[in-house]
Every structure is written in structure tokens, then in C-alpha cells.
Symmetry: C2
DNA sequence: ATAACTGCAAAAGGTTTGCAGTGAT
DNA sequence: ATCACTGCAAACCTTTTGCAGTTAT
């Protein structure tokens, strides 16, 4: 946790940005709220802890956290974004349950390899990708 | 083209929906406008051809075309949707150029296979997926 | 002191919806 | 004669932005 704060502080100072109380609190809550969350989850979580920050500041700070690489932004359908802290974790993609909203992670080096090959063949410079499988999780399928 | 109209008509009647002038025109224009388009492209294309339909009707009709399987909806980041006619074509995914907006298609049976295996392992019932690679196309990379 | 930051409320931007009138079956 | 469809304008929803006041450096 200290570590994360230090890393963010470092990112901020390298970009001539400032470490404010809001940013400290938001980072701490992002780490506390768990794996996958959206802005509302975070807001609710913060309120329950008696903390607050405006939506605008949440969005602005999350953008910096994403930019620093400490948090990933996952674009869902209809322009809703979810976020996930990436501290020391590595890349993965998602299975999204359409009924209960559960998000299951998966990773496949094979898929990564194929992606790179596709890009090579098409002379395409990849900067990122999105790979989501939608459907019903084990629990929701069985009813 | 006749064929497409017949297929849509069939879908409509099976769902107790009606074949209207607007729907006929929209289907025809969807086929004419080409591979990947968004609602604005379609609207502009129609206006250039002296045809028209309200945005609301475009959205409503596209939803039916998607439901009928004749058109695929591709969710892009930030809640913008694009559509592509699927007549007799089969599934593929996309490379999206962040600079010029070009969309390059690719397909990989291997990735499909891996997806199925991931789902089996996680006991997940897949109903669809999204797989996009973002970056810069050949032209845009080289400048 | 400077320039970045914050909250607020307004704006944006794509999509959806309620309604009253129109039209397919 | 029904009941679905259409256009319009308003409503939606998440995210972004302008502004005036606040605060880290």
C-alpha cells in the first residue's frame, strides 16, 4: 500500500501534478474496493467509509491512475467503463455474465501470440486490445 | 438483395412486426453503405440519396436487423456503436486504427477454439464475444 | 506567488422513450 | 378496426468541461 502510494506520488511528480488529499483517498479506496469496479461502486464504497470526492474528481483521478499503469480501464458495452487495480498483476481478459454481472478473468498466452501475429501480417502497430466473452456464468446457466 | 428483403420480411412476420417503407429503405441503405458504419454514416448516406428516416427509426430498425442476425453490432469504446451487414459472411473480429478510424477484419479459428475451451473450463455459457485490437494501421504507423 | 486542483452545475454525445398521429395487416 | 410504426422533442446516462474559489509546491 505504501508502495502504491509511492508509485503514484512518483508518477505525479514526474508529470508536474500534485499529491492532494483527494488523490490519496481515491488511490486508497481503489485498492480497498477490490478487483472490478465502476465509478458508482467506488463512490458508494467511499461514502460508506465516510469519505468523499466529487464524481468529477473521481473521473479525473482515475484517468491519471490509468495513465500511470496502476489501474486498467475496461470498456464495457454502452459506454460504461469499469476499472481494476493492476498492482503486480499481469494482463488478462474477461468473461462477463450478462445476468449477475460477475466478471471472471482468464488469460491465454496463445491468444496473445496470435494477436501479435495478426498484427505483423497486417502491418498493424498494436497499442492495446479488448477481449471479452459474454454469456452466463456457471450459477446463472444452471437455472 | 431480394433475398435479404425476403429474409427480413420473414423475420418481421414471425415476430408480428410490419414491413414499412422506412424499414425497406433502411435495409436497402444498410446494404448499400458498405462494411462498417455508424448511425450517422447511414443517415448521411441516405440523405445523399434523397432518402430519409428519423434517427429514432434508424435505431429501432437497426435493433431489429441485429436481432434477426442480418447485421452485427460492434460496440466501440465510449458507447459508440458501429454496425456491419453480415449477409453470408461469417464471424470475424477487428483491428481498429486509433488515428484514421480504419477497421481491418481478421479471423482466427484458433482463437475461437481457445475461447470455447476457456468457457468449458470455467463452466461458462458463451453467447457472444468482442475481440478488438487497437493501434495504428500500416499507413498511420509509418508517419 | 504560481499554477494545479476541487466541487458544482452545465454541457456533451450517443441512445432511448412518451406521445399523438399515421399506416400495415 | 386493430395495433404496430413514425417523427419529434424530451429524457437518459455516463463522462467531460468551464468557472471561481482553494491548495500544493
Amino acid at each position: 500500500m505504501q508502495q502504491a502510494a509511492a508509485r503514484f506520488a512518483d508518477y505525479l511528480s514526474r508529470n508536474r501534478l500534485r499529491m492532494t488529499r483527494e488523490r490519496r483517498v481515491i488511490l486508497e479506496q481503489v485498492l480497498a474496493v477490490g478487483k472490478h469496479f465502476d465509478v458508482d461502486d467506488l463512490l458508494v464504497h467511499m461514502r460508506n467509509g465516510g469519505l468523499r470526492a466529487s464524481r468529477a474528481t473521481l473521473y479525473r483521478t482515475l484517468a491519471h491512475l490509468v495513465d500511470s499503469g496502476m489501474v486498467h480501464k475496461v470498456e464495457m458495452a454502452k459506454g460504461q467503463a469499469r476499472y481494476e487495480p493492476m498492482l503486480g498483476r499481469h494482463h488478462h481478459d474477461h468473461l462477463v455474465c450478462l445476468k449477475c454481472g460477475e466478471i471472471i478473468e482468464f488469460e491465454s498466452p496463445e491468444v496473445e501470440r496470435i494477436q501479435e501475429e495478426v498484427c505483423r501480417r497486417k502491418r498493424f502497430t498494436m497499442t492495446g486490445h479488448t477481449h471479452q466473452i459474454r454469456g452466463y456464468c456457471r450459477r446463472c446457466s444452471s437455472r
